[in-house]
């Protein structure tokens, strides 16, 4: 007998994006450390210039092919169960990256087919649920998805998928996947739509693995991170080639490939399996380092942009670098007391995450790297910055205009949109249209309303700091905004 419960496009899309896709992750090692003092040496960084470290070479072409066709997360929903749920046609197929082959060509871009050892074909999450997004309807590789809904309980969706799973090896594969999600689901639920929790769920995964063998343990082996994730905005991939360290606090020093493939900790249960992924992920990193930002799709006033260039050179380049014909990026890590943005992410990474740093250094993932958090944030490259709203590491400021004039930053806001639709792009302020709200989450009357409100008074969600634009005149700010469109 076949199941006849129909797959609903609306909620299904939300679940696919929200659950499957977010399991492919990058991370910063931020957690709460109350474990006994570790004996292994852990490195902390000073603020200032991040030193260069050699990266393994790879073939960008091969990397692209692998990124869109190979599985980084090797457990998932059996393909037949997926099909029973979706019907013959996957949702969202109008958005697709070129070059997807075989089964992948019929799956949405954020899902990848993978044949498990049991021979069961699986549908798995990949990197692109978080690291690709649309801008005015066009799918852009590497653009952080700032609309992902991680307020949804992933466990309900994953366990619920069992309704479509047949007895036997299919059920075994589904249970394996569901058990992993069960272990991390409490660590990945945010209370605000749009912000990302990949860092926290990666730490939860570490807690369930022996660092040396990578063997899975249903019970945590070290104290897991706090359940409530700190909000993180997904940084664009096209800056990989410029950045000497990964993550907002620049703790990802050394070889970057294995930080990038930490998503595999969902299901990779041995060092051999991890090494097999590493062999092709070298090429993925090479591809990411070759990525270029998209071009601003609307008209730019060249004279105004020229004026803005002068404003930028005088006020911004020291930290954010120079662009154009002779680009230079200083890789500058700015101290918390200087940038003054919400300090929680950096502080917790510096003071309360030693057990995860320790885990990382003992594991295959840390063999070629030295994780070294600092009490500061990296001033990121600003290539394509017009596309990457909302701003700051926690996505607390909806537009560049608000970023450059701190008094105009909304305390409570939400995207101005109908349901799950994308808001309009605001070409004057550079960011997604938003509504300023008179109240925060405490004033919401429904759960749905509460999840949509960005409340900058919540811990870790603060929109303070980076007030360097406040001293600019209005005309200077307008010119600077015009210039940023050219990056």
């Amino acid at each position: 007998m076949r199941l006849t419960i129909p797959f609903r496009l609306g909620s299904g899309r939300r679940v696919l994006a929200g659950v499957l896709a977010t399991l492919a992750i990058q991370t910063s090692m931020v957690g709460c450390d109350r474990a006994p003092t570790e004996t292994l040496a852990i490195t902390k960084s000073e603020v200032g210039r991040v030193p260069a470290s050699a990266q393994r070479p790879g073939d960008p072409q091969q990397g692209y092919d692998a990124l869109i066709n190979r599985a980084i997360v090797t457990c998932g929903l059996p393909y037949d169960a997926y099909r029973r749920r979706t019907g013959p046609q996957s949702p969202n197929l109008d958005l697709q990256f070129p070059g997807r082959t075989g089964r992948n060509a019929e799956l949405p871009y954020m899902l990848t087919a993978h044949v498990a050892e049991s021979g069961i074909e699986l549908v798995t999450s990949n990197c692109l649920g978080c690291h690709a997004a649309t801008f005015d309807g066009e799918l852009i590789m590497g653009l952080g998805n700032e609309f992902l809904d991680l307020t949804v309980d992933p466990l309900i969706a994953v366990e619920g998928a069992g309704a479509f799973v047949a007895e036997g090896p299919e059920a075994t594969e589904w249970r394996r996947w569901a058990d992993r999600i069960r272990a991390i689901s409490d660590y990945m639920m945010t209370d605000t739509i749009g912000v990302n929790s990949a860092n926290n769920l990666t730490l939860a995964l570490m807690a369930h693995r022996d660092p040396e063998t990578l063997a899975w343990s249903d019970e945590p082996l070290i104290e897991p991170p706090p359940e409530k994730p700190l909000p993180v905005s997904v940084p664009p991939w096209w800056n990989v080639g410029k950045k000497r360290a990964m993550f907002y606090n620049a703790e990802g020093r050394g070889d970057q490939v294995r930080y990038m493939m930490l998503a595999s900790t969902v299901c990779t249960d041995s060092v051999d399996e991890a090494a097999a992924i590493d062999a092709w992920f070298v090429h993925v990193r090479a591809y990411l380092a070759s990525l270029e930002p998209p071009s601003y799709p609307y008209p730019i006033d060249p004279d105004l942009a020229n004026e803005g260039y002068r404003v930028f050179q005088a006020n911004c380049k020291k930290c954010h670098g120079t662009y154009g014909e002779d680009p230079f990026y200083p890789n500058k890590l700015v101290a918390l007391d200087k940038v003054k943005t919400d300090p929680l992410l950096a502080r917790k990474g510096f003071k309360e995450a030693d057990r995860f740093l320790h885990w990382f250094q003992r594991s295959f993932y840390g063999e070629l790297s030295q994780a070294a958090p600092a009490l500061g944030y990296i001033a990121p490259p600003l290539d394509g910055v017009w596309a990457t709203a909302p701003y700051l590491h926690n996505g607390s400021i909806p537009t560049i205009a608000a970023l450059l004039q701190s008094e105009s930053r909304p305390t409570y806001w939400e995207f101005d949109r109908e349901g799950d639709a994308r808001p309009a792009y605001d070409r004057n302020q550079l960011g997604w249209a938003y509504r300023v709200l008179p109240h925060g989450k405490a004033g919401a009357t429904s759960r749905n309303e509460r999840y949509r409100i960005y409340d900058t008074t919540s811990s870790g969600y603060g929109n303070q700091g980076h007030t360097f634009g406040d001293d600019l005149r209005t005309d200077e700010r307008l010119a600077l905004i015009e210039y940023l469109k050219t990056l």
Partner: protein, 384 residues
């Protein structure tokens, strides 16, 4: 993926119909022996689509929606006679369309609709459930539905919505017993959207569902020729759409509670059929004004504290429960009125009445409820 979950809310009794029909002794597969799968075109198009934006309209929506594939009415009630003796009833009506188009064959037996009715009655001083069943095709006047007046019937059983009231009329007759009850809503109806069970927000769950958690009941109960006047409260839920009978690897338990302080509680608990993993509960507390407060799995403690082994099937059921809604400090215990309320042994389905006691802070609470335990393994001992 959430849609199926809400559908499971109503799956239980659909499963009953399904299995009843597919049993080897079932009248539908006994004859020339086409399998039910060939009788029912599972991929059939033509049924009405279920769209998201929907509000129930009464009395029309109390009746049948024959352009949808399947439909269920569940009524639970707790009645008292003048001497204060209690009678508990459960009536389940199910309709299943074989295909979207009406039957065109000349035979008077031709039909595209099947109906099933099930009655369970617990009488004062009787330590067993009195059960009756009706299984009919929608032909030959054996069973059917009408919209004016709103009515669904199986032989001498019927549920109707009189034009001049917002209530319902339930008529059940059989050799031993009979019910003639009027049911009037005390609370407004709540849809699956209102309940937000399992985080389900606005959107289409794949079928329409409303429940009326509290109705005032009045009428007569007949038993072996004696008529007794009764009154009490009942709970109604009604769903229609693409409801399937196969829960795959899953099992679902359902808890409906009416508290004496006027509040009602609906909880679902999702489990894996093989007993692995941890169950996931979800609850909606409905205030006396009808306002709904939803609770997620991290706010709920729901644990069985006792087990009962069915002498008929050997299946083990967790029957006594402790339920706590932590954010509001509500703690309840649910004890079965009778242990043996195994509704369908072939299915390992327990569906019965429970007595509810508890507290909220210092305040003592009491009430009554109904629990359904479904989807247990069909072979061997269940692994709850």
């Amino acid at each position: 993926m959430k849609p199926w979950i809400v559908s499971s809310l109503s799956v239980t009794l659909f499963v009953l119909l399904w299995v009843t029909l597919t049993r080897e002794s079932g009248e539908w597969v006994k004859a020339p022996n086409p399998s039910l799968e060939t009788l029912i075109d599972l991929d059939a198009d033509g049924f009405s689509p279920v769209v998201g934006a929907w509000e129930p309209r009464f009395p029309a929506d109390h009746g049948a929606h024959p352009t949808f594939r399947s439909e269920l009415w569940n009524l639970f009630g707790w009645l008292l006679d003048r001497q204060g003796r209690s009678y508990v009833f459960q009536v389940n009506l199910t309709r299943l369309a074989l295909r979207a188009e009406a039957a065109e064959r000349a035979s008077a037996w031709a039909t595209n609709q099947l109906f099933r009715g099930h009655l369970a009655l617990i009488l004062p001083g009787v330590a067993s459930v009195l059960a009756e069943e009706r299984l009919n095709r929608g032909a030959l006047g054996l069973a059917g539905l009408s919209s004016e007046p709103v009515r669904i019937w199986l032989e001498d059983w019927s549920l109707s919505a009189p034009v001049d009231s917002d209530g319902l009329l339930l008529e059940i007759a059989s050799d031993r017993t009979g019910l003639s009850l009027t049911l009037n809503p005390i609370k407004p109806s709540a849809t699956s959207n209102d309940l937000e069970l399992f985080g389900q927000g606005p959107g289409s769950p794949g079928f329409h569902l409303y429940l009326i958690p509290r109705l005032a009941v009045q009428g007569d109960l007949r038993l072996d020729g004696t008529q007794v006047q009764v009154q009490g409260t009942a709970w109604l839920d009604h769903a229609w759409g693409a409801i399937s009978g196969a829960p795959g690897q899953l099992a679902l338990s359902r808890f409906a509670v009416q508290l004496d302080d006027g509040r009602d509680l609906m909880c679902l608990e999702l489990r894996r059929r093989d007993g692995s993993g941890r169950p996931i509960p979800s609850c909606a507390l409905i205030g006396s004004d009808g306002r709904v407060q939803a609770f997620g799995r991290r706010e709920i403690r729901l644990e069985p504290v006792d087990e009962w082994r069915s002498p008929a099937t050997g299946a083990r059921y967790p029957l006594s429960w402790r339920l706590a809604l932590q954010p509001v400090g509500l703690e309840l215990s649910l004890e079965p009125l009778l242990e043996d309320q195994e509704l369908d042994p072939a299915l390992r389905l327990w569906s019965g009445a429970v007595e509810v006691k508890g507290r909220e802070g210092e305040a003592q609470l009491s009430g009554r409820g109904w629990v359904e335990l479904t989807g247990l393994t069909r072979s061997g001992a269940n692994e709850l």
